[in-house]
Symmetry: C2
Subunit: 457 residues, 2 copies
């Protein structure tokens, strides 16, 4: 197998860095309307990159939200087709004062490039494009058929791509998807993610009195929606983290013994996880389940935020008229959001305290996704990864959700290779987000190898 693409990457390091820097300079913050022009500029940047790399039928697809970018190259008859996914939008950079360099002035320090979006996901999606360029520069052609679908709404829910995938099955038909939006388990450890939790994200609103009341005049007889919401939420799980909504665990598929065993071989130390990552005085969670199982393979109920009543400085003796909370269930394999939602709705209705009206709004719902590690494309990716880093590839899960992976599975019937090159401490969504340059170059090489080996099968 040719390693000429490695040489190409090594010889073009400076240009590959400069191009990424140009990409990172565009503040394509999808959640802030004032950055709409930057979002559109980033979409054009992606489209131009695809064209220059040799992809065809490149188009910027308008949506109700931010544009999608599509391109393909379909001249390898009989070879597999890979659908490459990534996103060009980024999180807001605040708090700005914590950045060592301005977030949209990418700066190289200690072998890393620091900028908002460097790891999440511009640096990672750009590797796909540059792998195509390397392969075409070296071989004049590509070993597999390729389709690129890049979105600009990943940080704000990804509604447009979800709709687009559902409505364009034929156009997007492929054998496997490639997604680079996850980290290595540890530096230098080739890692494929084969499981993501699902997510039902909801808003719960409690209303009581028709207006804010004076707690002196009405306290003792008036319902208090803040307390009503607290009462209800406290009933949703016990102090160990076990969810108390009846039926919620009925369909949970536990990880296979072999998978659980493989997790025990990962370089995980609970004390380091607590001290370096969580930073609290103790971990919590269901007794009898190791930490990795709790965060990767167990459903959770979480309260992300709560607001109601007076929370300014000082004192105000109010019984507020309403309160709201943001809550979610993380789902694991075999749990169906469409079964869970009515269970929870029923629970909320049955446990709403007297005098408090509860309204439950479901903002999004996606099931967990598992990829079969024995799938040939996953095995090929694992081999390419192992060869590059000189260690056996580990198969892990991730407790978070990448909804588009579920869409690919549901609508296109294909697995996703979740092959990312980030590191656990890259600081996604945080100040001083970084991406390791060595991983950027090795990522381009690895992806080129993956395409080659997939085409050689």
């Amino acid at each position: 197998m040719s390693r000429a693409t490695d040489t190409f990457v090594e010889q073009n390091q400076t240009r590959l860095l400069e191009e990424l820097q140009d990409f990172l300079r565009i503040p394509s913050i999808s959640t802030l309307p004032e950055h709409k022009p930057d979002v559109e500029r980033a979409a054009r940047f992606v489209a131009d990159s695809l064209s220059r790399a040799g992809l065809e039928h490149v188009e910027i697809i308008p949506t109700a939200g931010n544009p999608l970018v599509y391109g393909d190259w379909l001249h390898a008859p009989g070879k597999p087709t890979v659908l490459c996914y990534g996103h060009y939008d980024v999180q807001p950079p605040d708090p700005l004062e914590l950045w060592r360099n301005p977030p949209f002035e990418p700066t190289v320090r200690d072998g890393n490039i620091y900028a908002r979006g460097s790891a999440d996901d511009k640096g990672q999606m750009y590797m796909h494009v540059k792998a195509v360029e390397a392969l075409r520069a070296v071989n004049g052609t590509l070993p597999v058929n390729l389709k690129f679908l890049i979105e600009g709404e990943e940080e704000v829910g990804g509604a447009s791509i979800s709709k687009y995938v559902a409505g364009n099955r034929a156009k997007l038909k492929a054998d496997v998807a490639l997604v680079s939006d996850t980290p290595l388990y540890a530096e230098g450890l080739p890692t494929l993610c084969i499981g993501l939790r699902g997510l039902i994200y909801m808003e719960l609103e409690a209303t009581g009195p028709s207006r804010d009341l004076h707690s002196g005049l009405y306290g003792g007889a008036s319902p208090n929606p803040v307390f009503g919401l607290i009462e209800l939420l406290a009933k949703c799980k016990d102090s160990s983290g076990r969810i108390l909504v009846p039926g919620i665990y009925d369909d949970v598929a536990p990880p296979a013994p072999a998978e659980k065993e493989s997790w025990q071989r990962l370089p995980f130390r609970e004390a380091d996880f607590l001290a370096d990552e969580v930073g609290a005085s103790a971990l919590t969670g269901e007794p009898g389940f190791p930490v990795l199982e709790r965060i990767w393979a167990r459903p959770t109920f979480e309260v992300h935020g709560i607001a109601g009543g007076f929370t300014g400085a000082g004192a105000k003796t109010v019984i507020p008229s309403k309160a709201t909370a943001k809550v979610s269930f993380r789902l694991v394999p075999n749990q169906d959001p469409q079964k869970i939602i009515p269970l929870f709705r029923d629970f909320v209705t049955r446990h709403a305290p007297a005098g408090v009206r509860m309204e439950l709004r479901v903002l999004s719902a996606a099931p967990a996704v598992m990829v079969n590690p024995d799938h040939p494309a996953i095995q090929t990716a694992a081999r390419a990864f192992s060869d590059m880093l000189g260690k056996p590839t580990v198969f892990i899960r991730n407790g978070a959700s990448i909804p588009v992976v579920g869409d690919f599975a549901t609508h296109l019937g294909i697995p996703s290779v979740l092959m990312g090159f980030g590191l656990p401490d890259d600081g996604l969504h945080s100040p001083n987000e970084k991406y390791n340059l060595q991983n950027y170059y090795r990522g381009i090489m690895t992806i080129a190898h993956f395409f080659e080996e997939l085409g050689a099968r």
Copy 2:
């Protein structure tokens, strides 16, 4: 007994209204620093009014907060001394768009004067001043000795007057205090308030992880301080409203059977209270206690506000690093805040969930206050009130707190006559606050009679 003061009030109605309007035009909002000059202007207005009414030794007393205003008239040897209290500061007027007239452009409609502060408390405290003026105009002298102490921080906690009362016992020595900052139980029903609940107001802060965490990556193993706070608060009282902090009911002194009976004779309809005042779907509270007892004579635990995590539009999958709540206990007679606080502190410590650190901050603490309805001054006030409105005076309690009444009891050893002329629907702290003009004039007359009858004993 002379009713010449009634005639004086009737003949001077227009001027008495205009002067009140001048007072109400001053936006003396104590909680907003930009209104500091207005607060000072209001203090000067009060001082000038006292001087013009014939009070002596009038002074504007600087404090760490807003100035106090003092004045006295001590030329009735052998007669009782009355300490008149009121406040010249007002609540902020927002939401402005709900006002029918600008809040600081007092407007007369349907026999009411609409303005911020009209009932709470400028219109009421000004009655005291005008009663003095009426008595001096008619009799050339006063029937009792009088001291006025007017504050400008009632809406922001009243710290300065509390300190001043404690430090100036000799100067403020009196036989009884007169406070007009409460409503009639119902229009036309002479009402004296003889009980106020106490209040311990606290802030509870929960901290968990050292920074906001991604709930996908850490959910299931990381403590969540929002949920920890919810768990703790839910343990503080049961769904009926009964407080679960051990020992909290130990010292509660229940109302005497005669007092409870008298409450049953009040024109109270639970259905109207629910529909017209609370506006929720049901009332709550301890079973076995009638509504008035629950709001007047039972301790409560209330959550006034809670904040933590993400509460904006849309979804953010965060495990926040901290959350806070504002909570309070209302206290009833015989409960000692200094006994309750350690009980609660202990409860918080014992029930803090694993991995969540709880910090409890006490912002204020004041016991309940009771006035003996058989006290001669109260009986005199009741008689003056009954004579004016032609009905027997009712003795009620108020579930709220007026901390200065406790200070008068503790430091000066005197009871307070809580004789207010507001109405339950005056809209204190709300848009379109009003004060009934008939009650303003009748209030001046009644207070003049009260002084006369007190001097005649």
